[in-house]
Amino acid sequence: MKSVKNHFSLVIALLSILFSMQAYLIAERSIEAYKVNLANNYSVIAVSTKELQHSEILAINSIIAAAKELSPDSVIDRLSSDMKSSNVELLKLIMPKFYKLSLTHYPTPGEVKSLRNDLLKNSSIKKVEDFSHTHDTTYKLLTLFKNVVALFAVVVLVVTVLLIIKELRIWQYKHNERMSIMGLFGAALWLRSAVLFRLAIVDALIASVLAFGVFVYLSSSPFVLEQFNNIGISIVIFDQVDDFMLILGVAMSISIILASLIVLGHKEEA
């Protein structure tokens, strides 16, 4: 029981840092996946007086992934019922060309603007419809979501660090006594600190393994998967190798830094 209590406070602190870190990663991945979704559905319409080559359009701005000419037939069909076919042919000739441009990624508002300008520089393009109002709203919402999650992660980090610093004094006091006594019997610094580092490493391992368990469970939980399905994205919630390495690395670094701080702050008893 005694030893469980010894580990408890650092493990909890490490866990809260690991959870907020992973939450941020998941949010970022969701946003990226969602942006790909949006980019697939989002396009810009350019209206040109003369026919443009595909390569010509692609050269206008590197964000353009593809251009597709929209067939005027559907528009004309609606008119043609009360028009002579010769007139229809004429209309087809003088009618401007409509191009639907799909983009490489979901653009920022700035990118939308510069794309628009670049398109209009072309003398034959007369009009550009970029649906900028809808785009801006969606983009702002995404950014807001990302910032909220980042803020949350930072707040958790700060609060946890404050808690750890407070705990550090207690740990320092506790370990200082043992380290001083060992020193009085001639133990070298590495031996005096060995217990502390072993404790720190064990705590980091416990926290990492607990976090691993929870994330593996979450990433296979039907409820969580359904949430992502609902917004139409599928992401890696928890990569059992890469993410675990990251978690282990972060937990180890934090607890080893803490142990080093205690060793550095260790004062000999007179």
């Binding site: 506790k174 043992r178 009085l184 019997f185 001639g186 031996l191």
Partner: protein
Amino acid sequence: MDKVIVAKDLSLAYSSSETIINKANFSIDSGSFVFITGASGSGKSTLLKSLYGALKSKSGSLIVGGVELKGVSRSRLNFLRRHIGIVFQDYKLIKEWTIDKNIMLPLLINGYVKSVANNQVDKLLKHVRLNHQSGKFPLELSGGEQQRVAMARALAHNPVLILADEPTGNLDEYSSELIWNLLEGANTQLNTTVIVVTHNIPKTLRVEYKHFHIEYGSIHEVC
């Protein structure tokens, strides 16, 4: 005869305003048994502190085991301390360790093999009559029992020098007798130099001893 300790004009102080020991001159032969007495607050513990290098001298020279403690390097001090066994007035047992592990501490530091260390701990627990308490933590023991654990720890690694600060302060006559026998044994059988701070020098001691008294900051031998 070899000297374990040589002090020349040794002055000790915690602050510049108050000197505890003032220009003391004394030496202690290797293998001797020494008592230090003095009123409470006279500086007995302070003197011991300087002997194991936890308090730097204000002035003068202090040589312990051939090592000048003034400006001694940390590694050399560690080396020296590994050959000293100390019984502190406040015991200084490690609370989160069992008494067995506490007694094992000097063996751990001196790199004893686990099995040898375990045997030694068992033997010492019997010597201080605490084998029935094996596995307990210091705070689960009485004051006198803790003091005997501290004694066992000081003897564990067969040190060449034992510094004991009132090692029988909390003990009844029977247990005190036990401690004196152990210290006498180390002194006669292993030629360990023993320095004991005490208020009452036992009458029953069989070995020859020296007696220093501390008064008003000076140390003088009582004949």
